[in-house]
Symmetry: D2
Subunit: 351 residues, 4 copies
């Protein structure tokens, strides 16, 4: 079988280091092009030291023509707001060149379909409304059919992935009482990347737990868009994220009230039906709680449910590896779907 | 000034190691008696290695007569359910002996005034209803007057301390809409003590976050008792605790809805009024969030408030050192009150 | 190609959890038998939670006949001293049954060829001198040829693996001045396993570094045996191990003096020649130091060399993942060699 | 008693945050002046968040005249090489103004008496040879007499403090065989300060151990200067430091050979005699090893000795809190000596 020719833009980033390892071990992929503007000219093994001896390819400057010529898929690992314009130009150029290039964007630039949300949540104007509309939100457990046909997949944020996988069955079944969700979430420091900031310095994160962007994190908008879509009514989220003293993984706790007609047992059945045949979802038996140590290094999402009889609150707990199912692993899962490969191909899970 | 003669029962425990350090540095205290049944005969410095060279006193078996004779205050650092009967007997004996012994119980044995709650939440029958009624719940910011007169102070649990300090002003002012509270809490592993279990083995806690006793932790009963008392109506709590990958400190997030007439600014004022003159409360300015690293090693509680305009949810975040304000520090604060000392005496805070 | 039928004895251990994952993902292996005496009757996924949904096989009691009948290879994951007798009996039984069973022992029971060393270093008498002599020390970079023919491979200890890979080229080339080696080593807490002890409780290991068995750890004997063999003269090791506040990985620093005729450049050449074609050795360029974060999760050993011109001391630093190259990964590497498979098969390294 | 009027230059640094807490709690000190050029105009509580509500003083620009007028002691918390010239000018100015100002320099600028060493180890020319000669190396356990009379105390580096306290008794007694010392050391990330670098980003330090400046760290020069002075012969050190995955504390392991006439027992006696009456030294009984968790937050140095009979190597292990005895705590100890206060005053140790 011929290999998929893949490229990465932003190859010096932390997300890229995970993506590179996955692609290097993927038997149906050939890495053909690695773009970095901060580390142009360096060998990738000199930037990502854990790849020494494995990938000696040089990092090159961004050249859209080169990408359109050499790649069948390109992964965009840029910061939010940096690249949305170039993404549109790259896709247009590829079309003109009759290249069959597919694009997987790991930034937030094409996740929200409504352009009005960008100034509010991300602080920049997004002028490519057309592409925003056409981009597919790349959560395979929900949008697999569209992903297979997509030209541009917007790879979901880590928190939204974890929350949506946890909450989707309830909203689809319309058993949630009310339209406001409370989400309390804890992420490892890898979520803060490698550029020095308050949330990734060891002295501020070790032996600590850091609330940040309380009720103002832009991932809330992503959750609201998708839950509103699933529920077919306007859903809102109070979202409180924290950075916690570990490297990889995240836990999201969702608090909601069930409608009277729903009970714990019927809810559990809903989840099993909703996720039947989904390789990356692990539903826990009653009494077991998710733990990030069970999923770190894999593309799995582990989900546990607890119903508080006394207060009528349902607690949905879900965990993922924030750089795998919450980032590069999901990007590979999307690529597999887009190229007709087996969904699990190249994703190191024993499941 | 004459020194208060203090004893500890359960002196080999983790809480005791913190208490011993505080008492040893307290200029108005003399440690006269250290009881341990697991380590009888050992020197305390051989059990708590960080005290080597400081306290060479021997650990002795439990002898109530000896305590009543030698101590003016005794701290009980036993596991829940182990000692409630002996506590009652000790107090009765002291009375008979005309000893002025005061007791500070760091276990949960005298925190709940309603004996019916013990079988439900702690799995044992509590037969000393009278002492349960008379014991004072030792949260000084709320019950200072009663603590000063108390014979038996039930030192609050770590989670309830953090949650009650965070929520009390709102319930007293009756501005909370509804009677159910959601509390999502993260504690360091020191909360799990030193006896090996799933929540204190390094392999299960490092690089992990462990939900446990979800919606079934007995500290919920303590929160409900006190909030109900403050609010003068029945309050319920959905409480979800976690053990997280750090040693000391805890963060509790409280989610609730405000009544229409309340707004963020008036709420902030309430807090400042409620805690005026309270040395161990640090109210953060708007936009700042509490962090355990700011309070570890001190008896402080740091509180931050965020109002989510979009959903109408108020988020109260509070942090303490779980072994200090959430345990031994608060016990010393209670002792200070009980013996007419300055409330801050011997509590290492720069505030 | 037909799959190798593999079994594990001691399948509830920490080492086994890593081994199980490797074997489950190994395309030429079928797991046929899992023995555990502490967890008999449980499903393996209920013991190793991260395997939920992947391996539902039940843990069975030890039955040597069953092993000899069903397995081509069995991995022994027992504690030191527990099983040496049964290992001998199992091999004898297999021979009588004309089974072609091969054994890989992950304990220390067959690592030292001299039976006299067992009472000294491990505190028990070893009475199977014949099998001690015949067992092959399973360090593939040094004993590959013997491993391929072995019936019983003694999988090396974690520290000796790291130290021997770091020091072997120097002793083979006879450029070390003196016969005493100083080794200062740091291991993650996973080295202390899951049975509660002073070295794996979170309160004793987080925010700490714990020297233990200073100059008395039995892994010194293993290092001495192999270095003496390589150097063709008696070598001694002062070995100081520590448990450090991380989960996986280890670093060993070797301090020695070079003979006059050796210099840094020639030493570097030696290493490159010695390890030519070895897939799991990563020699770092001058000025780069090994880091466990570059090897955790892989079977790699990363080696760095620094020559202190001022004092004439050579510092060899090497790192491995203690449960992979220092345990289960190396066991799989040995199995690959014993069954004529590619040495890297099933070992997740991008190299 | 009148309070010592103290100032700090470089008050926004990590070392300062510890120093500020110590001085604020010191009953014989009044903080009169806080200088910071990076945070001029800010309140100190807005820079060091754990001081909120405690010290609201504003940070002011550097003005030597102001210091000489207002302070009796000034602590210099600047980076190495930045301030040596100004330090000389400040002292000269104070003399001209007849101010009795004493200076405690926490940087390396006046630790090495030989100006020639600065270009070699620190990369800058030091032109104040006279002050280098007159400055007192502020290790109170060794130089107490000189410290009491000093105008300028050079507060020792963290590693040298730990190594010198561990090795001094042996060199003074001249029982070390040879003149080269091997030192393998592990420090928490607080040693790397708060300015972002490879050694204080969480992603590079959590779950890792980072060798750095192997055999080239400038603290080696400090160790050599002082050991040479104590031993009265030229001593050299091969020094290998690491940053490890914890925040506070350090462990240094010293490897050396004893002269024939020395034995373990006599060595232990030497240590007890050498450190008799020294409040901050904790000598461990045989078989016990130092642990940073026993000293973090205190000004103690804990020392353990192991003699490897088989190889003749003596291992001296010592631990300190790198920001306390290895920094600000020692600075306060020096100040106490310089102002005739009790050496332990304001240093929170139960010993």
């Amino acid at each position: 079988m011929q290999k998929v020719r893949a490229g990465i833009v932003g190859a010096a980033s932390l997300l890229s280091s995970v993506l590179l390892r996955l692609l290097a071990l993927h038997r149906h992929v050939e890495i053909v092009l690695l773009v970095s503007e901060t580390k142009t000219g360096k060998k990738v093994e000199d930037v990502h030291r854990e790849l020494r001896g494995a990938i000696s390819k040089k990092l090159v400057p961004y050249n859209p023509r080169e990408i359109a010529e050499q790649c069948e898929v390109v992964f965009l690992c840029k910061s939010h707001g940096e690249f949305w314009k170039k993404t549109g130009e790259l896709i247009a150029l590829a079309k003109r060149m009759k290249s069959v290039l597919k694009v997987i964007d790991l930034s937030a630039d094409y996740r929200l379909h409504d352009p009005e949300l960008y100034p509010v949540w991300y602080g920049f104007e997004h002028k490519n409304a057309r592409l925003l509309r056409d981009a597919v939100y790349g959560l395979p457990e929900i949008h697999a059919r569209d992903i297979k046909e997509a030209e541009l997949v917007a790879n979901p944020g880590c928190y939204p992935t974890c929350v949506l996988l946890g909450a989707a069955p309830l909203f689809q079944a319309k058993v949630v009482d009310g339209t406001t969700l409370i989400v309390d979430a804890c992420s490892g420091v890898s979520g803060a990347g490698l550029r020095p900031n308050e949330r990734n310095l060891a002295m501020y994160t070790m032996e600590n737990i850091l609330p940040y962007r309380v009720a103002s994190h832009p991932h809330a908008a992503e959750m609201e868009q998708e839950l509103t879509h699933i529920a077919r009514e306007r859903i809102q989220v109070t979202f409180v994220p924290h950075v916690v003293a570990f490297k990889y993984g995240m836990l999201t706790n969702i608090y909601l009230r069930l409608k009277k007609r729903a009970d714990y047992k019927s809810v559990v059945k809903m989840y099993h039906k909703f996720y039947q045949g989904k390789d990356f979802i692990r539903l826990l038996p009653e009494g077991e709680y998710p733990q990030i140590r069970n999923v770190v290094g894999t593309n799995l999402c582990e989900i546990g449910l607890v119903y508080d009889q006394r207060t009528g609150i349902l607690i949905v707990m879900s965990v993922i590896d924030n750089l795998m199912k919450g980032g590069s692993g999901q990007a590979v899962q999307n690529m597999n779907l887009m190229f007709g490969l087996e969904e699990k191909e190249g994703l190191p899970s024993v499941r």
